[in-house]
Symmetry: C2
Subunit: 361 residues, 2 copies
DNA sequence: TTGTAAGCGTTATCAT
DNA sequence: ATGATAACGCTTACAA
């Protein structure tokens, strides 16, 4: 219980005070070798009286060659990412699967902070998980590759030999679109996730699609287009309820706020949060869901505040995705090979899809 | 561009290949000393051809005595914490203020994982930010103290000489309660945040309050009780819309679902998310807000999906709180003293509070 | 401008 | 069961 001396207390100090060698003191803390009970107690007593807090993790990490930290690079702003229940669920699975090899998750910035070296260059991480895709993903990957760090990519293509955790975005999207089609809908529109790092809102045009970089968005769009090749779409700037509302208003209303005559009878949203926004916007302008408008989503995550709304959607195993990523990292850290893991969504019938209303024609 | 040799490439290897000393090679990377342009290029070329990824952060951190990592301990489950816009906003301010001294934020687990040593013991962090309070906070603090790490506590009492970032929870809560009182409300109830680590729902009883540990909850409750000393309350298990709905149903409805005759005319919620849930529950049972029921919140954060709802609430400067914590950490890392910082909420009039309805009576 | 050398605090190997 | 010793890969006085 001594107070701060000039210098930091080290293992050597403790050993000296206890009258043992540093190696003996070391094993007392690591517990990896048998130590006589008496010695053990003497060392612990010395440590306590000197206020030694245990081996310095920085020194240990140099010696051991690992820091017990796994870096997570999330594309886009952290605040956006964490407000998305899908991301949160994934992080849950990830931290869980990583618990045995890691003391924690290091959130790495991915913002365009000028010319500085990206944080991954200087962060003492044992492995890296990349989530999503941004313009800086390739350079991040290159750094990680050179540092020889195990890396797993969730929802994104990292190229050659990088284990991925993927979802059948296209198939699932096609499946739910077919469901809408079978109900009889012809005039259908889609609300997509961001197309690129710009996250600019607006109509989904051929040019924008050609320049798009976010694979998830493109895959889900492709699945939708399998069923509705020429259907219009609006892209949102984030997976948020409010964004869904904005997009839906663009699809449903005239400039004066009235409902358009040529409005779609169904809207396929690329996320549940967007779908909830679409529903709110629909209700706002007097359309009932699903009687007047069918709305389907994607993700199947129970977001807070949705109340009793049972959305027709496809459910993705978000926690399992995170867990799979963590498991692959764990394997690679143990020297094994990393494998890609593919997940499948399951359709879930809710109460927001029905046959289209009869129209005067 | 050489492929994996048996051993990791070190600075010494690069120096040897470039025909310079390791110290010279070192400064080429750190850029802290002038190096002849020719030498510089030679070293860089050697590094590139050997596939050297730059100085190993683990070794650097031992030598420098800092890792560039700041640990964040959030009480409770991460997934809960991150779904709260207040936390997210705080994290934003924190990462922002920390950008100059830190490559990232290390999310430390705080779960009751049996007997193991808590992660802070083994994590190579330069400083720690504690958010909220849990039963393990004291032991976390003790470890941090022994390791001599700078620490700042947000919303919680760390005791002696630990800089805190605080909010005028009690005063703000009293202020908004007075607002409700001035409108003429007499039968008022409150919905509180969790009282303790258990997060058990239920009525706010004297016993539960006496055993409560969450300071924020107690402070806001105290402020409310300044104005309504004997008003009933219900405690929620988290700051979520759905929890607000559950709590409100307990306050407003009979067992059979009908509205209670003795229902309150106003509900003071301890967070905006809870308030939104209260409003949803009220609408569910046919009560109009604010005509039939006044609902006020706390936080003033623009959460997604609230649409155009203008809640009457008190606004807390969440981003500024995070930033302040980051700034104190930065100062302490620079050797300066850390200071406590106190923030004040501001009342914001919305559209969810009005005079109580006239009653038969 | 570049090189020499001394650690940073730990852990693992190998004797004893 | 314990101890001497050699790394781990880097940075920075200080010397040349």
């Amino acid at each position: 219980m001594t107070s701060t001396p000039g210098r930091r207390v080290t293992l050597a100090d403790v050993a000296r005070a206890a009258g043992v060698s540093t190696s003996t003191a070391s094993v007392v803390f690591s517990g990896k070798v048998n130590v006589a009970e008496a010695t053990r107690r003497r060392v612990l007593a010395a440590a306590a009286s000197l206020g030694y807090a245990g081996p310095d993790p920085r020194a240990a990490s140099l010696r051991l060659g690992r820091s017990g930290i796994v870096g997570v690079v999330i594309s886009g702003e952290l605040r956006h990412a964490f407000l998305d229940p899908v991301t949160t669920a994934m992080m849950d699975g990830l931290t869980d699967a990583l618990a045995s090899v890691s003391t924690g998750i290091l959130l790495l910035r991915d913002d365009p902070r000028g010319d500085e070296m990206p944080p991954i260059t200087e962060a003492p991480v044992d492995a890296v998980v990349l989530i999503g895709w941004s313009g800086r993903t390739p350079s991040a990957l290159e750094i990680v590759r050179r540092r020889g760090l195990p890396v797993v990519m969730i929802e994104g293509d990292a190229g050659e030999g990088i284990p991925r955790v993927t979802l059948d975005n296209r198939e699932a999207s096609a499946a739910i679109s077919r469901h809408v089609s079978r109900l009889g809908h012809v005039d259908v529109a889609t609300v997509t996730l961001p197309l690129d790092a710009d996250r600019r809102r607006g109509a989904v045009t051929a040019e924008r699609v050609a320049a798009a970089t976010v694979e998830v968005t493109l895959d889900r769009l492709a699945g939708f287009r399998e069923v509705y090749p020429d259907a219009p779409g609006v892209t949102a700037s984030a997976s948020l309820v409010d964004e869904g509302m904005i997009a839906a208003r663009a699809l449903l209303t005239e400039a004066d706020g009235g409902v358009r005559a040529d409005r779609p009878t169904a809207i396929v949203a690329q996320s549940d949060l967007l779908a909830v926004g679409v529903i709110r916007a629909a209700e706002e302008c007097g359309l009932r869901v699903p009687e007047d408008l069918t709305v389907v989503g994607f993700d199947g995550i129970a977001a807070d505040g949705l109340g009793s709304l049972r959305l027709t959607t496809v459910v993705q195993p978000a926690v399992a995705k995170g867990r799979a990523a963590g498991e692959q990292i764990t394997r690679m850290l143990a020297g094994g090979p990393g494998e890609s893991v593919h997940f499948t969504c399951t359709f879930r019938e809710g109460e927001t899809a029905a046959a289209p209303p009869h129209r005067a024609g």
